[in-house]
């Protein structure tokens, strides 16, 4: 049997609720309803799931989805050993067996033919057929499915099928408001509120430019990076350029504008 404890979250992750999402998630979990979390990158989706797993005391198995991922990467496959082949459970199968929360991060990155394998687990059946092995797994009563994706880079090619979407309840996340975000940056990194507020202001500048040359604004995560660098002794302007501006754009005009915003904010 797989060691259940290794998937447990031991220490409370810091999560600042923006609304009623904690209570709503608990209600969904109580009914074991699958949950989908939408929101821009770095706004706290994964942190939220981690936090809820800790709060509920359930193990959490996270899978980062990508284009090359196949169904067997989720379900499991036969591997070859000295004496023949052996079945190895994939993360989804493991979660269903031990009763963990299975979190598929950035699900749209996986191809649509891959994502359909979660279908039987996400409706009333709560089963997972392993056709190659000839086994039908009944999901553990604690098992829950959570997926996340970023509607920001939704394109024609990358979208969930309706049949997948309609198996989930959903949360829509966004970057927290300035006050909350300041608190988050300050708490997460231990910097003072004044600095955090300045970083949040720069973040807001970039978010205003979304759709005018930026695909995505500066995420809370990047703000935390910048604060971390500054706390580590880096000059604030350099830290902001390095953590906030350079990663998100190659567009010279936008870079200039954001650099100017940094100069204007740090007098």
């Amino acid at each position: 049997m797989t060691d259940k404890d290794q998937y447990k979250i031991r220490k409370e992750p810091f999560y600042q609720a923006q609304g009623k999402e904690v209570a709503l998630y608990e209600a969904a979990y109580l009914a074991r309803l699958p949950v989908m979390i939408k929101g821009p990158t770095g706004c706290g989706k994964s942190r939220f799931v981690e936090y809820m797993a800790w709060r509920l005391g359930k193990p959490l198995i996270t899978v980062a989805c990508n284009e090359d991922m196949t169904a067997s990467d989720l379900v499991g496959r036969y591997i070859l050993e000295a004496n023949g082949t052996r079945w190895l459970d994939g993360p989804l199968t493991t979660a269903a067996r031990i009763g963990a929360i299975c979190y598929l991060d950035e699900i749209v990155e996986a191809r649509q033919d891959t994502t359909v394998v979660i279908h039987p687990l996400t409706d009333h059946r709560r089963t997972l057929p392993l056709d190659k092995k000839g086994e039908l797994i009944e999901a553990h009563p604690d098992f829950q499915m959570v997926i996340s994706y970023n509607p920001g880079y939704q394109s024609l090619l990358k979208d969930l099928k309706q049949s997948t979407k309609q198996r989930f309840t959903a949360f829509e996340f966004d970057y927290p408001n300035a006050q909350l975000e300041t608190g988050i940056v300050a708490k997460e990194t231990g910097t003072d509120e004044a600095l955090a507020a300045k970083l949040v202001k720069i973040g807001a500048t970039a978010r205003n430019l979304k759709g005018h040359g930026l695909d995505e604004g500066i995420s809370t995560r990047l703000l935390v990076y910048a604060a971390t660098l500054i706390k580590g002794g880096v000059e604030p302007r350099d830290a902001c350029r390095m953590a906030l501006v350079r990663p998100i754009t190659d567009d010279a005009d936008i870079r200039d504008t954001l650099d100017h915003a940094i100069d204007a904010t740090f007098a």
Partner: protein, 756 residues
């Protein structure tokens, strides 16, 4: 006053007058005054030279104007350039005099003082005169073999404009500007005049290009991002020019039509032009956010001025609260008036006082000691300390300032202006409301809008593209106007018939196409890491392993999707020459092209690549026509076939402009590879271009531009003599089809080969 010489005159002056010996009565009138000024600035030799040269101008037979201007202006010119500049200038004038350009002497002399002030040194002056001399020699006409009889049409205009020009551009920039004008309008007197008098659009555009400083047009996007990003607002920018208005410099302002900004800003005090624009915008946004308009009727002009200064300081303080870094920027741009620069006994100093106060409100290290200034600085900060305050509150503070500091001398007409103008601030017209709606101009404006010419719109408005001038290695800005329109429609059945005619060829093509079609999933075997176990290989490995041999670890396989991702643009030359019969054939080149394009379109449609077709021809640079035959979103249907069936040939081939236009469509396609096929039967040429190389070089430049945009250009040329130029334009990316009859067959094959 003509009898003045008969009255008593100082013998010395009489001597000078004799030395000048000029009979014009107008000269006699001003002579004494001029002489007085000359005597105060010129040396003894200088005076001699001055009179001697004035004498020459007097006698040269160009009327009284030259000598008058010279007598009046030379002393001041001599102070800027030095007396020793005279021989060179005299020499230059002599050259003009000997040429048919005598008329240009007056404008030259007239502008000389202003020009000298701009140029400031004899070397620069010499450059300027050499430039003018070259200009003169190249534009003085020997039209139709009559030797130098026509005066240069542009030269007098050029001299008239030169002070303004030199204010805008350096002498090198001026050289480029003149060069462009001579080259393009050298043999066209009226246009040349227009160009050098700054009347024509490209003259202004060229000048704009040569100007120093940061141009608004180049930075509009950055400023737009600045407003959006930092201030969550947007605005329409309307540039105004600082030109001509030497006395009253226009000031930025905003109204409901947009924010008016100067078209160019030079760097100042280590603040870049771009940052100056940002400072203006920050100030204006501050007003938009925090200023409410108040009634002006009850305030005196002084009170209004004070209120404006206080309110400007207030919105800036609030903007700085938002972005502390702005303080540095504002301080660098704000003038720092010297405390006792203004004498209150003789001059109105209110403006000076307010400018100092404004500086003090902005800059904590202002260093002023004036008690009232310090008091009001403190009251201002106290007012702002806990709130945003308001325009009304700040206005009452301003009024009490005016009351407290009032001086009798504030009423004087002579106002101290030096160092008091804050040029990043707008004119605050938005701040004032008036009870009395007197002669309101807005009514007029609204009315005028309706009277817009109601021109029928046929096709799209023109797009302007630059053209490459290889002589100067520069672009001619906005040179070619491209009009795009839908191609007229014909009978789509004609095209279907053409396809039936080539059914056998189509069948062959189809086989080739099937090979090209993307096979969606491809299995990749022998992978160490893969998505699935490749059982055959795995068993083989296992057997190897069991029998003691080294097993092959590559026992997995995975799948890969392979697809084509090519966007294609076919650009058809529809110039007159297509109407000729193809050699050895009954069909015209146009008909053969039609067949070929139909087959190609059919083939590409089968393949499913995004595909567009456009045709072009031109009748001078003012009328390049781009005919839309098939767009990317259109299918290969009757609509498109109809347009193709109606294909007609006329006019000339201005290839570069058409390529640039087609590229702007292809560019927006999302595809890995972008291919532009150009089907043409001859070299680029147009009726308004005498120089054959020009359009060839332009097309070559267009190919380079497209290459930078990631567009692969390929030329299919039907001209047997194409070898002379086609490689110059397209490098190796071309095919010449000698046997035009085989075009319908070759074109799709070429395409398939290119995209394999």
């Amino acid at each position: 006053m003509s009898e003045a010489p008969t009255e008593y005159e100082h013998p010395l002056m009489k001597g000078y007058r004799e030395q000048l010996s000029c009979g014009f009565p107008q000269v006699a009138e001003v002579f004494e005054d001029c002489m007085a000024e000359a005597l105060s600035v010129l040396s003894k030799e200088g005076i001699n030279a001055y009179l001697e040269y004035a004498h020459f101008l007097c006698k040269m037979g160009r009327g009284v104007e030259p000598v008058l201007i010279f007598l009046e202006k030379w002393p001041s010119i001599a102070t800027t350039l030095g007396e020793s500049a005279l021989p060179a200038i005299a020499d230059f004038i002599r050259k003009m005099w000997k040429s048919p350009n005598g008329k240009a002497i007056v404008p030259f002399l007239q502008s000389l003082a202003a020009t000298a002030r701009r140029l400031h040194s004899q070397e620069q002056m010499q450059d300027y005169m050499n430039l003018a001399l070259a200009f003169m020699e190249r534009t003085t006409g020997s039209i139709h073999g009559i030797h130098t009889t026509f005066a240069s049409p542009g030269l007098p205009e050029f001299f008239k404009q030169s002070p303004y020009l030199l204010n805008q551009v350096s002498i090198d920039g001026l050289k480029n500007w003149v060069e462009y004008g001579i080259r393009n309008y050298g043999d066209h007197p009226e246009r040349q005049q227009d160009y050098f008098s700054l009347q024509s659009a490209d003259s202004r555009a060229m000048l704009q290009k040569e100007r120093h400083g940061t141009l608004l047009v180049d930075n509009e996007r950055k400023l737009d991002l600045y407003l959006r990003g930092l201030w969550q607002t947007d605005a329409h920018f309307v540039p105004y020019s600082l030109k001509f208005d030497e006395l009253r410099k226009p000031v930025p302002y905003y109204d409901k039509l947009g924010i008016r900004l100067p078209d160019v800003y030079d760097d100042v005090n280590g603040v870049s032009g771009l940052d100056r624009y940002r400072a203006v915008l920050a100030h204006i946004v501050g007003h938009r956010r925090w200023t409410t308009s108040i009634f002006a009727d009850n305030y005196s002009p002084f009170q209004r001025m004070a209120i404006e200064f206080f309110e400007d300081a207030r919105v800036e303080a609030l903007a700085i609260r938002e972005y502390p870094g702005l303080r540095r920027l504002f301080i660098k741009l704000h003038p720092q008036p010297i405390a006792d620069a203004c004498d209150p006994e003789t001059t109105s100093c209110l403006r000076h006082r307010l400018a100092m106060l404004s500086r003090a409100l902005l800059d904590p290290q202002h260093g002023y000691q004036d008690a009232q200034l310090l008091e009001f600085t403190q009251r201002f900060h106290a007012e702002m300390a806990n709130s945003e305050s308001s325009t009304e509150a700040i206005a009452s503070l301003a009024l009490s300032y005016v009351a407290k500091t009032r001086r009798q001398s504030d009423q004087f007409a002579k106002v101290h202006f030096d160092n008091t103008e804050v040029d990043y601030r707008d004119d605050n017209r938005h701040m004032w409301r008036f009870h009395e709606q007197s002669d309101d101009e807005e009514m007029f404006d609204d009315h005028r809008k309706i009277e817009l010419e109601e021109e029928e719109i046929i096709g799209l408005p023109p797009r302007h593209y630059p053209e490459w001038d290889y002589n100067s290695q520069t672009y001619r800005p906005d040179w070619a106007s491209v009009y795009e329109a839908l191609h007229p429609k014909g009978n789509p059945a004609d095209i279907d018939q053409l396809l039936v005619k080539h059914a056998a060829l189509a069948k062959r093509l189809k086989r080739m196409l099937d090979l090209l079609k993307p096979q969606d999933k491809v299995r990749i075997r022998y992978q160490e890491e893969g998505s699935e176990l490749d059982l055959d290989v795995a068993l083989r490995s296992l057997i190897d392993f069991k029998s003691g041999a080294t097993p092959d670890p590559r026992i997995n396989m995975s799948h890969k999707t392979s697809g084509r991702d090519i966007a294609v643009m076919l650009l058809l030359d529809l110039s007159e020459s297509l109407n000729e019969k193809a050699s050895g054939s009954e069909q015209t080149i146009l008909e053969l092209s039609q067949e070929a394009v139909s087959l190609l379109a059919w083939a590409v449609d089968k393949l499913g690549d995004p595909f567009a077709i456009g045709g072009f021809h031109s009748n001078t640079r003012h009328d390049v026509r781009y005919l839309h035959i098939k767009g990317y979103s259109e299918h290969w249907d009757d609509e498109v076939k109809g347009r193709l069936a109606a294909m007609e040939a006329a006019y000339s081939t201005r290839m570069g402009a058409a390529m640039r236009h087609a590229a702007h469509y292809l560019q927006t396609q999302k595809a890995d590879k972008k291919l532009m096929l150009i089907l043409t039967d001859g070299q680029p040429s147009d009726v308004d271009t005498k120089d054959e190389r020009l359009l060839i070089e332009d097309a070559r430049q267009a190919v380079k531009e497209l290459d930078q945009k990631g567009i692969y250009t390929y030329c299919i040329n039907l001209d047997p003599k194409a070898d002379e130029y086609v490689a110059d334009i397209f490098g190796k990316q071309y095919t010449v089809i000698d046997n035009i009859q085989r075009l319908p067959e070759r074109l799709p094959q070429l395409f398939i080969a290119l995209t394999k």
